[in-house]
Amino acid sequence: MESTNLSPITLSRLVSLYETHRQQLVACDTPRLAGLRDRAFQSFASLGFPDTKQEGWRHTDLKESLARLYDYPLDPLKETDIQKVFQCNIPHLDTAILGQLNGWYVSRDVPLMELGNGMIMGSLSEARKKYPELVEKYYGRAADDTTDAFTALNTAFVRDGVFVYVPAGVKSPRPVQMINVIHHKSNLLIQSRNLIILGENARLSLVHCDDSYNHQGSFSNIVTEIFAGENAFLDHYKLQNLNNNSTLISSTFFRLDKAAGLESHYISLNGGLLRNNIRVVFDGTHGRADLFGLYLMDKKQHVDNQIYVDHAFPECTSTEVFKGILDENARGVFNGHVLVRRNAVKTDARQSNKNMLLTDSARVNSKPFLEIYNDDVKCSHGSSVGQLDSMAMFYLRQRGISEESARMLLMFAFANEVVAKIAIPELRGRIEDMVKKRLQGELQICEQCVLHCSTPEKNINQ
C-alpha cells in the first residue's frame, strides 16, 4: 500500500481510507477479527472524533492536533537505520527489548521470539498467524470499541503491535521493555495495538516507553489489552517522553482474574498532548490494582489521565495515586472513576490526586468520581491543588538551604511518593534522575532519543 498524502486527520479521510483498503486490512484476519474490524469501523464512523462537549473530553481539545498534516502509511516505512534508533537503554537494567518503530514491530529477522520457558514475545501480526487460537481467545475481549471512538478506530485499522505471552506458572526472568519510537521525515499518524497475556500464577515486569526521536510531530493512537490470569502479577510501567509536537492517545485495558495483582506506574515527563485512558476491570474476587501516576509538564503541554476502575467482584482493592507538577502554560486533567457494583461487597477503593501549580497560567482540572451501589465498602477520594508548603520551605531556608535548592528538594519529595513505588531499582534510579533533571529544566528532547542524551547522575550498582 502506498503512503497517503499529507492531510489533516478527519472522519471522511479515514472512512474513505478504510473503504478503499479494507481488503488489505482484513487480509490476514480470521473471520471473527474481520467482523470485529467492520463493527469497530461502523461504530467509529457513527461516533466520530470526540469534542469538548462530551463529558470525558471536556478539558482536552483535539482540534489543533487533528488539524495538523499527517502522513498515514498503512505499511512499514523502510528508511531508517534501525540500529541507530534503538540505542535507548537504561544503564544496568537487563531487559528483553521489544522495539517498535512508528508502531511497527522491529523484528531484526525474528518476528516472534519463543523462549525456553514458554514465553512468546514479538510482533502481534506474526502471533496472529502463528498462534491464532491464543490471540483469538483474548484479542478484542477487553477493549471497548463500541463507545470509545479512538479504540474503535484502532481496532478498525490496526496492523501491528507487540505481543507478549507468559504461560501459567512462569515468572519472567527479566523485565520486558517495549520501546515505541517515532521517527519519520513528516508528521505521522500511528495506530498500534499490543496484547499482553499472563497465565495463572505468572509474573511479569513490563516497561512500556513512548519516545520520539526528533521534533517531528505525530499522532499516536495506541491500544493495549492486558489480561492477568488467576493469581498472576503484573508490574507495569508506562514512561512517556515525547516531543511537544506529539499527540498520544494511549488506551490500556486491564482485565484481572481472581486474586490477580497489578501495579501500574504512569510517568509522563514530556509530550505535546498526552491522554491516558486506563481501564481496570476485576474479573474475579480478591483482585488488587494499584495505579500510580506522575506528570511533570511545562510549556503548553497537556496531560489527561482518565482512569476507570470497575469493581465487578467482591473483595477487590484498588488504589489510585496521581501527582502532578505543572509549570508555565501546562494543563493537567485527572478524571478518576471508581464503580462499585451492587454485589461487590468488601470493596476497598481509594483515589488521590494532588497537583502543584508553579505559575498563574498553568491549569488543573480534577474530578475524582465515585459511583457506589453497595453499602459494605470502604471508599475515599481526595484531591488537592496547591503550592509548596511555606512552613516546610521556611524550615529548609532557616537551615541554610538556598531557596532554589529548597524548592527542588520539596518538589522532588512531592514527586517521590510515586517514584519510590517503582519496584525495579535500576529503573527507579533512572526515573529519579530524570525527574530531577526534569524539575531543573535540563531534560529535553534533543536531537537524539532522550533516554541516552542525558547521563545518569549516579550508577546504581556501584
Binding site: 508553579l358 480534577s366 465515585l370 459511583e371 503550592q387
Partner: protein, 482 residues
C-alpha cells in the same frame, strides 16, 4: 442483629409522609399547557408592567430552543410540559388587610403544617411569607420591617410597588437563558418572595417563606429574590411541603441572592416535598436553580440545606465570588430513601482575590435510593490567594442504595489552595456496638450516629429549623442500617 436491623428498616420504610393531605381551597387555574397565550394570561392575571411580560416572552422563546438536559445521574420519566397547569391560585375574595381576613381554610392548612402564621409572628419573631401553589397568600410582619426600610413581600407585590428594584436585579444572577428549567421558570413564574435589605441594616428577625403545593396537576414555579445592600445582613429560611399524589409534580424555582459590599446573606432551607410512595410512585420533581453573587468585597453568602423530600432533587445552590475577600459557604444534608433520587451539590466560582469557600456535604442514602453529590470549585486566573475546602461524605444504609460523588475541581492560578476529600461507608459496626453495650438500643444508637454525622451541617441552621430538621432526619432514617 441482621434481622433486627431488617425489621427496623422495614418499620422505617413504613413511615408515612405526614404532610400529604389536600386542602379543599377554591382555586383558580390557568388553562392546561404552555403557549405564549398562557404567559400573557399569567402576566395579565397579575397585572404586570410591560417589562415583565417582555422578560417572560423572551425567556419562553429561548426555552423553546432548548432541550431538557440529561447529564445528571438521575432517571427522570419524560415530562410532558403541555400537560401541566402553569398557574394555580387560591381564589381571593378581596384584598387582605389583616390576618383575620385570610381564608380560614388556608390558615388551617398552615396551622396543620405547623406554620401558624399568627403564632409565629408573635412568638418566634419570624416574618413569614406563605406561598400556596403559585401565589403568596400572606406575609406577616411586613409593617414592622418597613420601619427599617426592609422590603419583604411577595414577588407580585414587589413588581407592583418596587418595579425599579425588580427590574434592576431580576435575572442578574440567574439569567433567563441559564438553563432549561430556569428559562421555563422565567417564562411562567407566578409568585415568590422578594426581600430587600437597605444599606447598613441588620434585619432584626429571620425572614421565612413557606411553600405549599396544593392543587393537582400543577407545576409550581416561584421565584425568590434577595438583595442585601452594602453592610446589610439577613437570615432567610424556606420550607416546603406538598400533598400525596400518584402523579409527579414539577417544581422548578429560581432563587437569586445579591450581596453587595460587606453584606451577608444566610439562606437556610428544609426541603420536605412529597417524596413519592414506597414503590416510587408520585412525588415532586424538584429542579431548582439557586445562585447567589457576592458582588462587593467582603460579602458573604451561606447556603444551608436539609433535603429530605422530593422524588427527584436536582439542584446546585451556588456562589459567584466576584468581590475580593468574599466568602461562600455550602452546608448540606441530603437524605434519600425508598426510590428517591438526588443529584445535588454546589458550585463555587472564585473570581475575586482572596476569596474563600467551604463545602460540607453529607449524603445519606437508604432503601433503593440514589444520592449523588456533584460540585464544582473553579478558581479563575485572577482569583489569587483563594482557598477552598470541600468535604463530602456519604453514608450508605442498606445494600440496595447508591452513593456517588462527582467533584469537579478547576484551578487556574498558582497561589490558591483547593482541598477536597470524601469518604463513603456504612455506619461503623464498632460505633453501633459501643452504643449498644452502653445500653442504648439499636434504633436510638443509629439516630445518635446519624445525627452526629450530620451535626456539622445542622448546627448551621437557625434554631427553629434545626429542631424541624432533626425531627425530619429521625423520621427518614432512624434505625435504618443494613
Amino acid at each position: 442483629m441482621e434481622s433486627d436491623s431488617n425489621n427496623i428498616l422495614h418499620e422505617v420504610t413504613k413511615q408515612e409522609y405526614k404532610y400529604g393531605f389536600v386542602t379543599d381551597i377554591d382555586t383558580e387555574f390557568a388553562p392546561r399547557g404552555l403557549t405564549e397565550d398562557t404567559i400573557r394570561f399569567i402576566s395579565a392575571k397579575k397585572n404586570e408592567p410591560e417589562f415583565m411580560l417582555e422578560f417572560r416572552l423572551k425567556a419562553f422563546r429561548h426555552w423553546l430552543t432548548m432541550k431538557q438536559p440529561d447529564w445528571a445521574h438521575l432517571t427522570i420519566e419524560p415530562i410532558d410540559f403541555q400537560d401541566i397547569i402553569y398557574y394555580a391560585a387560591p381564589k381571593k375574595k378581596k384584598e387582605l388587610s389583616g390576618l383575620d381576613q385570610v381564608d380560614p381554610e388556608l390558615l388551617a392548612t398552615f396551622n396543620k403544617l405547623g406554620i401558624s402564621l399568627e403564632e409565629q409572628k408573635k412568638l418566634a419573631g419570624v416574618a413569614v411569607d406563605a406561598v400556596i401553589d403559585s401565589v403568596s397568600v400572606k406575609t406577616t410582619f411586613s409593617e414592622t420591617l418597613s420601619k427599617y426600610g426592609i422590603i419583604f413581600c411577595s414577588f407580585s407585590e414587589a413588581v407592583q410597588k418596587h418595579p425599579d428594584l425588580v427590574k434592576q436585579y431580576m435575572g442578574s444572577v440567574v439569567p433567563y437563558s441559564d438553563n432549561f428549567f430556569a428559562a421555563l421558570n422565567s417564562a411562567v413564574f407566578s409568585d415568590g418572595s422578594f426581600c430587600f435589605i437597605p444599606k447598613g441594616v441588620r434585619c432584626p428577625v429571620d425572614l421565612s417563606t413557606y411553600f405549599r403545593i396544593n392543587a393537582a396537576n400543577t407545576g409550581q414555579f416561584e421565584r425568590t429574590l434577595i438583595v442585601a445592600e452594602e453592610g446589610a445582613y439577613v437570615s432567610y429560611m424556606e420550607g416546603c411541603t406538598a400533598p400525596q399524589r400518584d402523579e409527579n409534580q414539577l417544581h422548578a424555582a429560581i432563587v437569586e441572592i445579591v450581596a453587595l459590599k460587606d453584606a451577608e446573606v444566610k439562606y437556610s432551607t428544609v426541603q420536605n416535598w412529597y417524596p413519592g410512595d414506597k414503590e416510587g410512585k408520585g412525588g415532586i420533581y424538584n429542579f431548582v436553580t439557586k445562585r447567589g453573587i457576592c458582588k462587593g468585597s467582603n460579602a458573604k453568602i451561606s447556603w444551608t440545606q436539609v433535603e429530605t423530600g422530593s422524588a427527584i432533587t436536582w439542584k446546585y445552590p451556588s456562589c459567584i465570588l466576584l468581590g475580593d475577600n468574599s466568602i461562600g459557604e455550602f452546608y448540606s444534608v441530603a437524605v434519600t430513601n425508598n426510590h428517591q433520587q438526588a443529584d445535588t451539590g454546589t458550585k463555587m466560582q472564585h473570581l475575586g482575590k482572596n476569596t474563600r469557600s467551604t463545602i460540607i456535604s453529607k449524603g445519606i442514602s437508604a432503601g433503593k435510593s440514589n444520592n449523588s453529590y456533584r460540585g464544582l470549585v473553579r478558581i479563575a486566573k485572577n482569583a489569587v490567594n483563594s482557598r477552598n475546602y470541600s468535604q463530602c461524605d456519604s453514608l450508605l444504609l442498606g445494600s440496595a442504595c447508591g452513593a456517588h460523588t462527582f467533584p469537579y475541581i478547576q484551578v487556574e492560578n498558582k497561589s490558591s489552595i483547593v482541598e477536597h476529600e470524601a469518604t463513603t461507608s456504612k455506619i461503623s459496626e464498632d460505633q453501633l456496638f459501643y452504643c449498644q453495650q452502653r445500653g442504648i438500643d439499636m434504633e436510638s444508637a443509629i439516630g445518635l450516629i446519624v445525627n452526629g454525622y450530620a451535626k456539622e451541617v445542622l448546627r448551621q441552621l437557625p434554631m427553629e429549623f434545626a429542631v424541624e430538621a432533626q425531627k425530619l432526619l429521625s423520621i427518614s432514617l432512624e434505625g435504618s442500617v443494613g
